[in-house]
């Protein structure tokens, strides 16, 4: 009897493993093996023709000393610092409005969601046209209020330079803020991702029991007070999720740069060259695969770091009801 139970267990393990095998094979070949290989490739001066020379940590050191890498990090940083919070608060605001037991909720949700299902390639092509400096729709609309005339994707000036009227480049490079070209990508990024965040927030808001608000109303709380004391703390797990997701999406920005900026892409004056584009350019245009793998490693560290920091700093404040 015990031996038959042992053999049954063995059989179950074997069959179970068999079920797992297809997924495991694909992952082994196209995830696990590449990740291991990536470490190896990064230690070589590896071109299109294959490994040439072992350089040890040379690629990593070269990346760290490469001013364009730091510039691309700064560019990505500006993009994230603007896109993520704007998107988050705007989405929360709209979701709160939509949650007021309002009519035509479905129609609004559909409209806001449309850019989310549309491909980034299509959206980039359309926005490049909208942002056209002389013929674009955006400058036309801005001209109604006497504004406009910005050259959007072609303008390398920093946002803070423009705001503070710095025409003689007095502000140091790192503090000039995102270039106007980068601001164009930020505007489009907010527009594209807003609907996703709204839908997530709306789902979170609908989970808050209505009785809390009724109780607060009886206690004489106003709208703002209710938002601060009920909605904001109870929605915090959703906020946390949205923050992490949209940070990662923002960090991985690539197609917009390939399609909308330049030529050469990443311009003007490399002010839209984000980390992902820099990685792509080195790996698949210059075919410096070892160098590309090193950049990818730093990109991974940064994403991991962001997740950990957000977890450490924010998770304590998150209220899991």
């Amino acid at each position: 009897m015990p031996s038959s139970s042992a053999s049954r267990k063995l059989k179950e393990a074997g069959v179970g493993f068999l079920y797992l095998l297809p997924a495991l094979l694909v992952l082994a070949a196209f995830r696990i093996l590449p990740i291991l290989l990536s470490a190896r490739v990064s230690l070589y001066d590896w071109g299109m023709a294959g490994a040439r020379e072992f350089v040890g940590l040379g690629n990593y050191l070269a990346v760290l000393q490469d001013p364009v890498f730091w510039k691309s990090l700064l560019n990505t940083g500006w993009y994230m610092v603007f896109t993520v919070p704007i998107q988050l608060f705007l989405a929360l605001f709209i979701a709160v409005l939509l949650n007021q037991r309002i009519r035509w909720l479905g129609a609004y949700r559909t409209v806001y969601y449309l850019p989310v299902v549309t491909s980034i390639v299509a959206v980039s092509i359309v926005w490049k046209w909208i942002l056209h400096p002389d013929r674009g729709l955006l400058n036309y609309i801005l001209s109604w209020v006497g504004a406009g005339g910005l050259r959007w994707l072609q303008d390398p000036r920093g946002l803070f330079q423009l705001v503070f009227g710095d025409t003689r480049n007095l502000i140091p490079l790192a503090l000039r803020g995102p270039s106007i070209a980068m601001c164009s990508l930020i505007i489009m990024g907010v527009w594209k991702g807003l609907g996703y965040n709204i839908v997530i927030f709306l789902a979170g808001l609908q989970n808050i029991p209505k009785t809390y608000y009724e109780a607060a109303r009886i206690d004489g709380a106003g709208r703002f007070r209710m938002f601060r004391s009920i909605t904001w703390p109870l929605i915090s797990p959703t906020t946390y999720y949205v923050l992490i997701m949209s940070s990662i999406v923002a960090f991985e920005t690539f197609a917009q740069v390939w399609i909308m900026t330049g030529p050469p892409s990443g311009g003007p004056l490399s002010t839209t060259k984000v980390v992902m584009y820099y990685f792509y350019e080195n790996s698949f245009e210059f075919w410096r695969l070892g160098y590309g793998a090193s950049i990818a490693f730093f990109a991974f560290l940064i994403i991991l770091g962001l997740t950990i920091i957000q977890r450490l700093v924010l998770e304590r404040r998150v209220h899991y009801g």
Binding site: G16, V121, A296, F300
Partner: protein, 271 residues
Amino acid sequence: MRLRSFPIHLLLVVCGIAMVLPFFWMLTTSLKTPLEALQFPPTWIPKVFQFDNYLEVFRQIPLWRYMANTVLITFASLTGVLLTGVLAAYAFARFRFPGREILFMLFLALMMIPLPVYLVPSYMILFRLGWIDTYLAMIVPWTVNIFGIFLLRQHFKQLPQDLFDAARIDGCGRFRTLLSVVLPLSKPPLVTITVFNVIGSWNSFFWPLIVTHSDSIRPLQVGLAYFSREQSTNYTLLMAATTMAIIPLILLFFIAQKQIIQSQARTGLKE
């Protein structure tokens, strides 16, 4: 009450217009003559509807070919994802074998690794296999969706044990149980995975950009992106091509929007 909701609607409508305006602009430009498209101030509605722009796109690029490529890649990888996903999730949820938890953790950890980390060596592997510039390079690596496995495993785990006991008493084997008991009860996660995967493959750009070189094999997004570089000033044609490229997915969205939005919302919630 009606009156108080007016400012809310006003705000929502203004934001809503901002959301649709780019689509409207795409459509209206796609129907203008090149001359009218460059007019400033621009016209909101074309004076003459230039439907020929759409035909001209087909004369310039093999758009049908791009679409067919995308459809093929989308369905092939979806089939793979559903097959590998159901089997793997069933193993994780309903079998006992040594190393099960460790393997599952490994899968989840793999999900955290961003694309650039495995892109360069994946390219090398595909190159070795002679798969660069073939459909295989765009399909096979994407026949597993770890997040899908995760969703299905959660779902399989919470199915009542009684169902499985009853199936066994009725003489069902494990595989038969999966087919006739588990799968019919798993529609929501399967729909969610299908939705994510179809949208994901239809819109994917980075990977196919890198693993394809010839025009005939390019999926829609890559073909469209190259077209936008080659015809960077031909806005009427670009907008016509873009309109056609997004129509299939927009249609799908209108048909299945409830499932799509619910799927997205559900996955965003803490388990």
